[in-house]
Symmetry: C2
Subunit: 646 residues, 2 copies
C-alpha cells in the first residue's frame, strides 16, 4: 500500500472575480479549506465509484462494497486522521472532508468505511493506548482487520450508560469474561458484523473485584482469519433494511467469551493484573463522558455525509426542474419549465440555501475538531464543540430526510424510480436521524449542555450580569405587544433575531426548571416535563449556528461595495436561508413580540422575491456542489434508463 | 367464481356503553357505515395476505401479487362497485372501504388491484358504454383480462390536457391509429404494463377529419393471451422503484397501432363511421373535466389507502413505544417506557389524532361518492365533492409520508429494519403524494375550484351579501392588533377558527387576483404568481374539512352530560387534533389577529396536557384501527426475526 498523505489543507480560496457569477468560484467557497483534497478526490473517483447499483441484491451490493473498500485503501484520503506514524497524517479535519466527498457516491460504502476507520479505528485510536495502536492500527488502516463498533444493544441505544453487556475480570486467568446476560443486551444493528468483521470494540459494564465500574470498551475477536465465528460468539444478520443494503449489519451475542487483560482500551481506565482498577479521571461520570467525547468525530462525519447526500438530491431535482416542462404559458404557448413555477421554486430554492448554510456550519465545526485534535481547545471550548456537533448532526440529518423527500416529490414519478438515485438517497440517509445519537435525544443533550453553560455563566460575575440584562430584556420584549418594525434584510439583525431567540428560550427554560425545582420537583422529573421546551432550544441553537456560520462566510468573501457577483449572490442565498427559517418559525417570533405582523408579511414577500431572483442561478448554485455528472444518475424528462444523463 | 355481494352497508354503529373505554367500540366508530364489510374482510384475510415479504426480490413479489389477485377474485369485496348485472353490487362506497382494508396489508397488492378494478375497470365502467361493459367487465372483474390505465406520459403527468399521444381516425378502415409521436409522449409509470397487462385504456388526442378533439380514452390491446406483446407496441420495464416492488410498472410506446372504432370509450364523445364527431357535452373543456370527474373514485381510494398505511405505522410505533424502555427514572430506578417520555408522546399522540381525523373525513367523502353514484348529488355538490376529494387525497398522502417517517424514527434502529414493516410502508406510500394527481397541483385545483364557487357566490344575491360581510369582517379582524382571548377548548370555536381562516385566505386570494387583473395582468400569470397563496388555501380547506368531519362524528356519538367514556375520549382526541393543527399554523393565526399571544400559549399548554391525558389510552386508540396482529409485523424490544410478535 503506497500512501502519500499530501492533501494538506490549503489556504481558504475565497477569491472573487468581479465580472460574473461563476459556479467554479462558488465551489471553492463551498469546498473551503479542503478544496485541494476535494478536487483530488473528484479526480481520483470515476463513475465506477458512484453509479447507483440498480438491480443488485444485498449480497452483490455487500460484495461490491467489500471490493470498493480494498480500492479505498490504495488512496490516502479516508485515513488522513490516523497518526502519521501509522500511515495517516494526523489530519482529522481532512479525514472528515474526505468522508463527505465519499458520501456523494454510494452511501453503503460511505457507512462501511465510516464503521471501519471512523468508529472501529477511531475507538482504537481514541480509547486505546500505544500497545493497541501498534498492534492494530496498521491492519485497521489497510482493512486487513475488518472491525465493528459494538455499542448499541437491542434494549439500549440512546442510554449508553444503561448498557447491560458485562465484562467481568477474572484475576486468576488475567482475562475479562464478556457476556450477554439477556436478549435485550444483544449488540444490535452493528455494521460490519454480519459478514466481514473479525474484531469488535465491545462496550460493556466492567466488573472488577465484584464492583461495577461502568461502561468501558474492549477488543473482542468475533471471527478468525478464515471467517469462522469465534467460540462463544453468536452472530445473526439483521436482515433487510430500509436502505444501506451494502452494509452487513448484524446482531452479536456473547456467551462468556474470554479476552486477555490487554483487550481493555485503557486510555481512560486501567485494570492491573490483580484486578485493581485505576483511572486518570476520578469521577465515573466524567470518565464516561470523556470516553464518549473522544468519539464525536463519527457524529460530525454523519452530519457531513447527510449534507453531501442532500446536495446530490438537490442536484438531481434542480436539473430536472430546469429541463422538465409542464403547463403552457398562454401568453407564449410554450410549456413552462418546472422551476419557473413559483410553487416549485418554493420547494427547491430555500432547500438549496439550507444546504449552503449546513455546509458552512459543518466546515466551521471541522476546523474546531482539528483544533481540538491539535490540543488548541480548552475544556470549555471542547464541550462547546461537542454541543455544536450534536446540534448540527441532528439538524443536518433531519434536513437531509426533509430535503430528499422534497426533491423526490419535485421529480414526480421520475423521482420514484431507482434510476433517479433519489429513492436510494432517501432510504440510505433515513437512519442517519437515529444513529450516531438519536436526534431527539441529541437535542436534549444540546439543551442540557447549554443550560450547564448558562448556569456557569450565571454563577460568574460578568456572565451573571449579562444574563440578567438579557433576561430582563426578554421579559420586556415579551410584554411589548406591538413590536417595532424591524429591518429583516439587515444581516446583523437577522443573526441577532436568531441569537435573541436562542437566548430567550434558554433563559425561559432555565427559569422554568429553577421554578419547578424550587417548588419541590425532582430535577430529572422537571427536565422530563420540559422535554419539548428543550427541543425548541436545540433547534434554535442549530438555526443560530447556521446563520452565524453563513454570515461569517459571506463576510469573508467581501460584502457591500467591494463585493463581486459571487459574494453578492452568496449574500442573497444567506438572506433566503435566514428569512425562510424566520418564516417557518414565525409563530415563535410573533408570539414573543420579536417580530410584528408587518414584519411577518415582509418576510414572506422577501422569501418569494429571493426565490424568484435566485431561480436563474439555481443550476449554478448546484453546479457549485461539484458533483461530477458521472457520479450521479440524473433523471431527465425523456425517461428510461437512457434517462441517466451523462 | 362464486360471489355473494352481501356486504351491504349497515347502520352506523355508534353506540356507547357508559362503563369503560372499549377499543371495540372505538373500532365501530372508526369503521363507520361499512363496519360489517370490514369485519368480513378481517375474518377472510389471514396472515398469508399480510405478512411482509422480507428477502423477496421484485420478480417473486410480482408473482405473489399475481397469485393474490387470483385469490381476491374469489371474494366479492374488491368489485362491489361494479354494476350488479356484471357481478358487482353498485356499491362504490363499499368498494372504497374494501380497498382501504386491503391497504392494511401488502400495498403492492393494493395498488395492483386498484389499477385493475379501480383505474382500468373504473375507466371502462365510467367512460365506456353498454358495448364495452358487456364485452369487458366480466373478464376485468375475474382478472382474466389484466389491464392498464395509460394516462401519464413521461413529459405530461399533471397537465393531462397537454398529452401528446395521438389517436387519428381513419374513416377508410374505420379504425383509430394510436401513435407515440416523441420520446416524452411515452406512457410512463403504467401499473400492470411491464408484466401482466393485456389491454390498456390509452388517453390520447383524438383527431377526426384532421381536427384535434382533445384528450379521449381508447382501449388498446398490448399483449395477446399468451403474453406476447402486440405488434407496434413497445413495452419497457420502469426498473426498480423506491417501493411497490410487487407492481409491474412499465413504459408503453405505440407505433401507429390500429384499433377498431368501438375501441373509443364513448360515453362522452362518439365518432361515427365516417368520422363525424359528436358529444352530449358541447364545451370541449367541460367534456374533458366531466371525463376526469368520472374517475375521482381512484383518487379517493388512494386517500383511503394512505390512511390505512398510516394506521399500520402508528400501530407498530405505539406498541413499540409501549414496550420499549429507555432511561431510568431516578425516583423509582425503573426504566421509563418510551411513551412516558413527553417528547415521544408529542411525536405519536397527535399523529394518532390526525389518523382519526382523516378517517372521519374520508368516510364522509365515501358517503358522498356513493350518493353521487346513486344520482343523489346535483352538479354543484358533485363539483364540491371533486374538490374535497382532491384536498383530502393531498392531505392524507402527505400525512402518510410524514407520520410514517415519524413512526420510523420513533422506533429507532428497529424501525429501520424491514422486519418492522415501517420501511416498506414508508417506501410504498411515498409515490402516493405524486400519483393520482400531484399533491401540489391538486392543492391548486382545490384553490381554483374554491375561487370559482366564491365568484359564483359573489355574483349571486345572498352569496354576495355574505361574502361582503365576511370580507369586511376579515379586514376588521386583520386590523385588530390585540385580539380578544378565545376559548380554544370550545369545539364550536375550534371549527369556527379553521373555517374563518379558510374564508379569510380565500377572500384575500380573490381580492389579490382581482386586483392583479384590474391592473392589467394576464389571469393565468396572476394565478401563477399566487401559487403559494393557493397552497395555503388548499391546506386551510383540508384542515376545515377534517375538523368538521371529526366534530360531526363526535356529536353523533353524544357529547357533554350524556357522553359515555368512548365519546368523551373521542372528544379529547378531536381537541388534540384541532389544537395541534392550530399550534402548527399558529403563525397565521397570530399574524392575522385571529389568536393572541395568550391563546398561543394556551394552545401549546393544552396540546401538552392532552398528549399526557391520552397517553394511557394510546394502545386502545390504535387497537381500534382493527389491525389483526397477524397482518402486521410488530417490532418488539427483543429484536430479531423473533421480534415479529404474534
Amino acid at each position: 500500500m503506497s500512501r502519500t498523505p499530501t492533501a494538506a489543507p490549503v489556504d481558504d480560496p475565497c477569491v472573487d472575480d468581479p465580472s460574473v457569477v461563476d459556479s467554479e468560484q462558488l465551489k471553492r467557497v463551498l469546498d473551503g479549506r479542503h478544496h485541494g483534497l476535494r478536487e483530488e478526490i473528484r479526480a481520483a473517483h470515476d463513475a465506477d465509484w458512484f453509479t447507483p447499483r440498480l438491480h443488485v441484491d444485498e449480497q452483490a451490493h455487500q460484495a461490491w462494497v467489500g471490493e470498493a473498500m480494498q480500492r479505498l485503501t490504495r488512496t490516502p484520503h479516508q485515513v488522513l486522521g490516523f497518526p502519521t506514524a501509522y500511515g495517516g497524517a494526523d489530519q482529522v479535519g481532512a479525514s472528515v472532508a474526505a468522508f463527505e466527498m465519499l458520501a456523494l457516491g454510494d452511501l453503503s460504502l460511505t457507512v462501511k468505511s465510516g464503521v471501519q476507520w471512523g468508529l472501529f479505528g477511531g475507538a482504537v485510536q481514541a480509547l486505546g493506548t500505544q500497545v493497541h495502536h501498534d498492534r492494530y492500527l496498521p491492519s485497521i488502516i489497510d482493512f486487513s482487520l475488518p472491525g465493528c463498533f459494538a455499542m448499541t444493544e437491542t434494549g439500549h441505544g440512546s442510554d449508553v450508560q444503561g448498557l447491560r453487556t458485562t465484562a467481568v475480570y477474572d484475576p486468576a486467568a488475567e482475562e475479562f469474561v464478556v457476556h450477554t446476560p439477556e436478549d435485550s443486551a444483544c449488540k444490535d444493528y452493528i455494521g460490519n458484523a454480519a459478514r466481514d468483521g473479525r474484531m469488535a470494540v465491545v462496550f460493556a459494564r466492567l466488573v472488577t473485584h465484584g464492583e461495577d465500574r461502568g461502561v468501558h470498551a474492549l477488543l473482542v475477536p468475533i471471527r478468525d482469519e478464515a471467517g469462522v465465528t469465534a467460540a462463544g460468539v453468536d452472530i445473526e444478520d439483521c436482515g433487510p433494511k430500509a436502505g444501506l443494503a451494502g452494509v452487513d449489519n448484524g446482531r452479536l451475542r456473547f456467551d462468556h467469551v474470554r479476552v486477555p487483560r490487554e483487550a481493555l482500551l485503557d486510555r481512560y481506565a486501567h485494570v492491573a493484573a490483580d484486578g485493581t482498577y485505576s483511572s486518570p479521571i476520578a469521577s465515573a461520570n466524567r470518565r464516561f463522558f470523556s470516553m464518549l467525547g473522544a468519539l464525536v468525530r463519527g457524529r460530525l462525519s454523519i452530519s457531513g455525509a447527510a449534507i453531501s447526500a442532500t446536495k446530490v438530491g438537490l442536484d438531481v431535482a434542480v436539473r430536472y426542474g430546469q429541463e422538465r416542462r409542464q403547463f403552457s404559458d398562454p401568453s407564449t404557448g410554450e410549456e413552462v419549465r418546472l422551476l419557473d413555477h413559483p410553487s416549485h421554486q418554493r420547494k427547491l430554492v430555500p432547500a438549496v440555501a439550507r444546504a449552503y448554510a449546513f455546509t458552512f456550519a459543518q466546515a466551521a465545526l471541522v476546523e474546531e475538531l482539528q483544533a481540538g485534535h491539535d490540543g488548541r481547545l480548552d475544556q470549555s471550548a471542547s464541550r462547546r464543540l461537542e454541543t455544536d456537533i450534536a446540534a448540527v448532526k441532528a439538524g443536518a440529518t433531519w434536513n437531509a430526510s426533509r430535503t430528499l423527500q422534497t426533491a423526490r416529490e419535485a421529480c414526480g414519478g421520475a423521482g420514484y424510480l431507482a434510476s433517479s438515485r433519489l429513492p436510494e438517497l432517501r432510504a440510505d440517509t433515513d437512519v442517519f436521524t437515529t444513529f450516531e445519537g438519536d436526534n431527539t435525544v441529541l437535542m436534549q443533550l444540546v439543551a442540557k449542555n447549554l443550560l450547564t453553560a448558562y448556569a456557569a455563566g450565571a454563577a460568574g460575575g460578568l456572565g451573571a450580569a449579562r444574563t440578567l440584562v438579557r433576561s430582563l430584556a426578554s421579559r420586556v420584549a415579551d410584554r411589548v405587544r406591538v413590536p417595532w418594525p424591524t429591518d429583516v434584510l439587515d444581516p446583523a439583525r437577522q443573526v441577532a433575531l436568531l441569537r435573541e431567540r436562542e437566548e430567550h428560550v434558554l433563559d425561559g427554560l432555565a427559569r422554568r426548571l429553577r421554578a419547578a425545582v424550587s417548588a419541590g420537583a425532582d430535577p430529572t422529573a422537571a427536565a422530563s416535563a420540559a422535554q419539548d421546551h428543550m427541543q425548541v432550544l436545540g433547534r434554535a441553537h442549530v438555526d443560530r449556528l447556521l446563520a452565524v456560520a453563513f454570515d461569517e462566510r459571506v463576510r469573508s468573501c467581501g460584502e457591500g461595495a467591494d463585493a463581486g457577483p459571487t459574494a453578492d449572490l452568496l449574500a442573497r442565498v444567506r438572506d433566503l436561508f435566514v428569512l425562510s427559517r424566520l418564516e417557518e418559525d414565525m409563530a415563535w417570533f410573533l408570539a414573543h413580540g420579536r417580530l410584528g405582523r408587518a414584519d411577518a408579511r415582509a418576510v414572506t414577500r422577501h422569501v418569494d422575491r429571493l426565490c424568484a431572483e435566485l431561480r436563474p442561478h439555481a443550476v449554478a448554485l448546484v453546479d457549485a456542489f461539484g458533483i461530477a455528472p458521472a457520479w450521479s444518475a440524473r433523471t431527465t424528462t425523456t425517461g428510461g434508463q437512457q434517462g441517466l444523463a451523462a
